[in-house]
């Protein structure tokens, strides 16, 4: 094991480093959860019944915009962490707030897209494919929503208490969570949308 | 709750039909090659595991008696004995050997049972509805409810589907079971080589009257089978759409027969599975 001083600041406290490990383990189960939903989607993709096919309801424009927003938010959360490691509270806080705003706009876009589909009569009752689609994308979306709520709490704590040992760890685990959602989205984008449009 | 009065004659009919044909241990009284092959698998595996069971029981009893903590026990006390490579290899090799003995017949028989026994089998389309079985003979174009006839000495291909929650068709004297599921058609090969009346039942829970969702298989000589088909064709009414709707309700039904049935009461088969080489395999719809 390396000496504590060479470790990033979040890991220097023994207890906090254990908590980070716990969060990694949690992410592992979340990977399994998304893995199940992805396999359900893969099987149900062609089971469109009388409803629309993927090709008929996906449009690249809004999805590309969502992707762009989420990737940018991943960048801003990294900036926040970068600033925190250099003990610069304000940039860290601002980048976190920027991240949560980007996340919120992502969720808004997704809700718009969903309600557009539903307005067109494509509810998930229509086919197994639509059920799997809305559930998979919706699970990711609700994870992002939870992340936004979490980020609000976290920015309040950062503003109130500064870069304490606990807050450093919280920021780090939040960043992990956020990157994880980004990776899931990349899979969603390529497996669900790109192959659906192609 | 369906009327009780319908169930009583049903059970009485089963009781009558079975009297004196070895209902006990139906798995041990195979009436055809499939059940025979499965029984052989049961016997082989029972023998192999019995050897292991008695070995462990014996060893356990010996150790228990020899190493009891009593003052007069002079068996060697070796508190630090914790490793013995040869012994560990032996206890690893023993289950491996037992499983090898079992693996060979498992592989052989599983493939053999999936093997197409005949290109010209008797085909029976089976639909499970809530608490009753509908058997349709596409060649003869007759239908029966809760009982059917098969000729001995000819493989029968059952094509199973369901218009209700999943069920499983099981006639232990003829062979093991297969599920009947909505939206799918699954094949099951069975054959009778001796005549008799055998009890079959649903083996997968599907609701309140699951316990009495049984049927009778009459294995008869080819001649009698042909006569039976003729009789159904000439004397019974045909199955109407209204009858089908009646059957689809969640009730039990008494055995019935129909001389004809509407075409769309069974899913089209060719898209569901095909013969590939020697085996009957499901084909996935494009």
């Amino acid at each position: 094991m390396s000496t504590p001083t060479t470790l990033p600041k979040e890991f220097q406290d023994q207890q906090e480093s254990i908590r980070i490990m716990g969060f990694w383990v949690f992410l592992a189960t979340d990977v399994a959860l998304f893995g199940c939903l992805f396999s359900v989607y893969a099987v149900f993709r062609s089971r469109v019944a009388l409803g629309p096919t993927p090709h008929q309801i996906f449009s690249l424009g809004p999805v590309l915009l969502e992707t762009l927003i989420l990737l940018t938010s991943s960048f801003t959360i990294s900036l926040s962490l970068f600033a925190a490691r250099r003990d610069r509270l304000k940039p860290a806080l601002y980048c976190l707030i920027l991240t949560l705003l980007l996340g919120a706009s992502f969720v808004t876009l997704e809700i718009r897209e969903f309600s557009h589909d539903v307005m067109a009569g494509h509810t998930w009752h229509q086919s197994a494919f639509l059920s799997a689609f809305f559930t998979l994308v919706g699970t990711h979306g609700s994870h992002v929503t939870f992340g936004v709520v979490w980020a609000i709490m976290l920015s309040m704590q950062l503003a109130l208490r500064g870069l304490t040992v606990i807050n450093r760890r919280k920021l780090y685990t939040f960043a992990l969570y956020w990157h994880f959602l980004d990776i899931v989205w990349i899979f969603l984008f390529s497996i669900v949308y790109l192959t659906g449009i192609a | 709750m369906p009327p009780v009065k319908m169930k009583k004659p049903l059970m009485a009919a089963i009781g009558l039909g079975l009297s004196g044909c070895g209902a006990d241990y139906s798995v041990f009284h195979p009436a055809g090659p499939v059940a025979q092959s499965e029984l052989n698998a049961v016997v082989i595996s029972t023998i192999v595991v019995a050897v292991i069971i008695f070995l462990i029981w014996g060893l356990w009893l010996y150790v228990l008696i020899r190493f009891r903590d009593t003052p007069r026990n002079h068996a060697p006390y070796r508190p630090n004995w914790r490793q013995s490579r040869p012994l560990e290899i032996a206890i690893f090799a023993l289950p491996v050997a037992a499983l090898l003995v079992l693996a060979v017949p498992t592989v052989k028989k599983t493939y053999a049972l999936a093997h197409v026994p005949s290109r010209h089998p008797l085909v029976v389309d089976v639909t499970s509805l809530d608490y009753k079985w509908v058997f349709q003979y596409p060649r003869q174009h007759i239908a029966t409810v809760n009982y059917f006839y098969i000729p001995i000495g000819r493989p029968v291909l059952f094509q199973l589907t369901a218009h209700s929650p999943m069920t499983a068709l099981w006639a232990p004297n003829l062979g093991g079971m297969e599920y009947a599921m909505p939206n799918r058609v699954l094949p099951l090969w069975l054959e009778a080589t001796r005549t008799g009346t055998f009890l079959g039942r649903n083996a997968n829970y599907n609701g309140i009257d699951y316990w009495c969702m049984t049927f009778l298989v009459h294995a008869v000589s080819p001649l009698r089978f042909t006569r039976w088909v003729k009789r159904i064709q000439t004397t019974k009414p045909s199955l109407t759409v209204a009858d089908w709707r009646q059957l689809s309700r969640h009730t039990v039904a008494a055995p019935q027969a129909y001389s004809n049935y509407p075409a769309d009461t069974f899913p089209e088969k060719p898209t569901q599975f095909t013969v590939r080489g020697l085996y009957y395999v499901p084909t996935h719809k494009p």
């Binding site: - | 914790r82 599983t110 093991g176 599907n206």
Partner: protein, 659 residues
């Protein structure tokens, strides 16, 4: 005898539950609850209950709460079992209606697996693992309490379904499409889905907790290869839970979406696919049975060396076989449905992979026997459960191998042969193991021991009853009797076997009653465990007083070898676990928190909203959850510090100061 048994059962557990009966039971429960409230108020126990138990984050207390809940659930699931067996005592027996029978076997399976076996496993993890590895608590104590309260909410949901709204009746597997709204209307199935999802979140949290605890909180010097096998089993079980429970959550979640929000996952129409449910369920379900059995394996690996006064034989093989089983357990799930048309190649693959599991399991059986070889076997109650486990479990394992022989399985599937097999491994393996562990660690939990003579009687009845109940069922399988039959006709040759099987279940019930008596009697006439090491144990938990002080180890021991405490005793180094007055440092402990129980309440409110489709209530619950999480996140004082004086006082009162 038969008529007598049925009359007695009818008297004890009136089966015809009509609305007036349910109202009667509800009134009875309300009166009992009020009586409890009055008692607590009169004796001024409210503060005590809140401070010491409801808000506790101490792993020892949480373990005890899990244990009590599991025993209550064992009673409930056991009553269900007795009702099932009474219904089947003879042909055409109408002890209860078929609808109620369906409800009873569903709750029996669900309660026994998820609310009896799982919490009993987690109880013993909580009680023993931190003490064994020399830790002051688990890695995330508050999360541990959250796990407990989520489990409790799940258990409450499943149990109130009986009196409010109706019990689930689709079996513990709840195969779609039968579990869909079209075939199974009413709220019973919603209760099932919600309770498993909520309890499942708790279980996943427990797994995260124990994985990190075992990996990061071991005493100095305790490398993985010196760790007790029970701690290994906790580690491996946790890793199994991590990947096995998400598929369950997905299976339950999707069914819930189908039922409550009209999605089309497993429906017959709209191209839903019931097979998908079956696959998801068993991708969870098969690892689940190893989640249940591995802790029992771990317990036996502690109990056998202790009561044989001998080191565990083949430690490496034991650990490697645990790992091998956990790895293989993900590759066998199709053996639950060889009859669903997967084709011979798939069936052969899964049949053979199932057989492979028998190899590491067989190795373990022999290892336990060779652990006793050359030892001195003491027939204490924990050891009796262990000793009876070997011949019982080997039968269950062997019939499991028979079920893996694919052509054989075509005839055994869903029959009483299968029922006998899995009770043989789950009761004969898991339950025997957990009861062995319960008797083994009882004094560590409560400070007093259970009476051995009564314990032996409880064991004898339970063991004899077990064999009488389940051995005839193998034969019933060969006779064509299938599972979940609400009743059966005469003339099939099933009557005698069913009768004896029922009598066996009554013997098991007597065994359970003796066990309860044993616990109550031993509480009234406590045999205090003053040494903390009543069994002449080998691992670190026996170096502590019983029950262990709140901080567990005043001084974390340094470990040099396996069976650390045994070696310390042999080498006369037992002073190493004691403190000297001048070397005491303050200890930081997690502070009690009301957040976990409030989170549980919020989940309960939200779940009831979902069950009855009162979505305003569900949203209220969700808001409660978020608010409670925020409250937990903002709480700044999460630790208390015990000052050295307190520790010295406590330790000297226990006679544990270095001279």
């Amino acid at each position: 005898m038969k008529a007598w048994a049925i009359h007695l059962m009818k008297l004890l557990f009136p089966p015809r539950v009509l609305l007036p009966d349910i109202i009667g039971i509800d009134i009875g429960l309300t009166i009992a609850a009020l009586a409890l409230l009055v008692y607590l108020t009169k004796t001024h126990r409210w503060g005590w209950l809140w401070r010491e138990w409801l808000t506790t984050v101490d792993h020892k207390r949480i373990g005890i709460m899990y244990l009590i809940a599991a025993l209550i659930m064992l009673f409930r699931g056991g009553v269900d079992a007795l009702m099932i067996r009474t219904q089947l005592i003879g042909p055409h027996e109408h002890f209860m209606g078929i609808q109620q029978y369906d409800e009873v076997f569903t709750t029996h399976g669900t309660v026994m697996i998820f609310f009896m076996a799982m919490p009993l496993v987690i109880a013993l993890f909580n009680v023993a693992v931190p003490l064994m590895i020399g830790a002051r608590d688990v890695a995330f104590p508050r999360l541990n309490a959250i796990s407990f309260w989520l489990f409790a909410v799940g258990a409450i949901l499943l149990n109130v379904s009986f009196s409010i709204g109706g019990s689930p009746d689709a079996g513990w597997t709840s195969y779609a499409p039968y579990s869909e709204l079209a075939f199974d209307p009413g709220v019973g199935e919603n209760y099932f889905l919600l309770s498993l999802q909520v309890a499942g979140i708790g279980t996943i949290a427990t797994a995260v907790n124990f994985l990190v605890t075992v990996l990061r909180l071991r005493a100095p010097g305790m490398s993985l290869s010196k760790m007790p096998v029970f701690a290994w089993s906790a580690l491996i079980t946790s890793s199994l839970i991590l990947f096995a429970f998400p598929p369950l959550t997905v299976a339950m979640g999707l069914t819930m979406l189908d039922r409550l929000f009209h999605a089309s996952f497993f429906t017959v129409s709209h191209q839903g696919m019931p097979m998908m449910y079956v696959n998801l369920f068993w991708i969870f379900g098969h690892p689940e049975v190893y989640i249940l059995i591995m802790p029992a394996f771990g317990i036996f690996s502690e109990v056998v060396p202790t009561f044989s006064r001998k080191a565990l034989f083949g430690y490496d093989a034991m650990v490697v076989s645990l790992l091998a089983i956990s790895f293989l357990s993900y590759g066998v799930w199709v053996h639950h449905f060889f009859e669903m048309g997967a084709g011979p190649t798939v069936n052969v693959f899964f049949g053979l992979s199932t057989m492979l599991i028998a190899i590491p399991t067989g190795v373990k059986m022999f290892n336990w026997i060779f652990t006793m070889w050359g030892g001195r076997i003491r027939l204490t109650v924990p050891m009796l459960w262990q000793l009876s486990f070997i011949p019982t479990f080997v039968v269950g394992g062997a019939t499991g191998v028979m079920l893996a022989v694919v052509p054989g399985d075509y005839q055994y599937h869903n029959t009483y042969f299968l029922i006998a097999h899995f009770h043989n491994v789950i009761v004969g393996g898991t339950v025997f193991g957990l009861l062995s562990g319960m008797y083994y660690w009882w004094s560590k939990m409560f400070g007093w021991q259970l009476n051995q003579r009564q314990g032996t009687w409880a064991f004898a009845f339970f063991f004899a009853g077990f064999w009488l109940t389940f051995m005839p069922q193998y034969f019933l399988g060969f006779m064509g009797m299938v599972r979940r039959m609400g009743t059966y006709p005469a003339g099939l040759g099933w009557t005698a076997f069913n009768f004896w099987s029922t009598i066996g279940s009554y013997l098991m019930a007597i065994g359970f009653l003796i066990m309860v008596y044993n616990i109550v009697w031993s509480r009234m006439h406590p045999n205090w465990d003053t040494t903390g090491d009543p069994w002449d144990g080998r691992t670190l938990e026996w170096s502590l007083p019983s029950p262990a002080p709140i901080y567990n180890f005043a001084r974390i021991p340094v470990v040099h070898e396996r069976d650390a405490w045994w070696e310390m005793k042999l080498q006369d180094r037992t002073d190493e676990v004691k403190i000297s007055v001048d070397s005491v440092e303050p200890i930081h402990l997690p502070k009690n928190s009301p957040m976990p129980i409030i989170l549980g309440l919020a989940f309960l409110v939200g779940s009831i909203g979902m069950v009855f489709s009162w979505f305003w209530l569900a949203i209220l619950g969700a808001l409660g959850i978020v608010a409670d999480l925020a409250y937990g996140s903002f709480a700044d004082q999460t630790e208390i510090t015990l000052d050295p004086h307190y520790i010295i006082e406590t330790e000297s009162a226990l006679g544990r100061l270095q001279s």
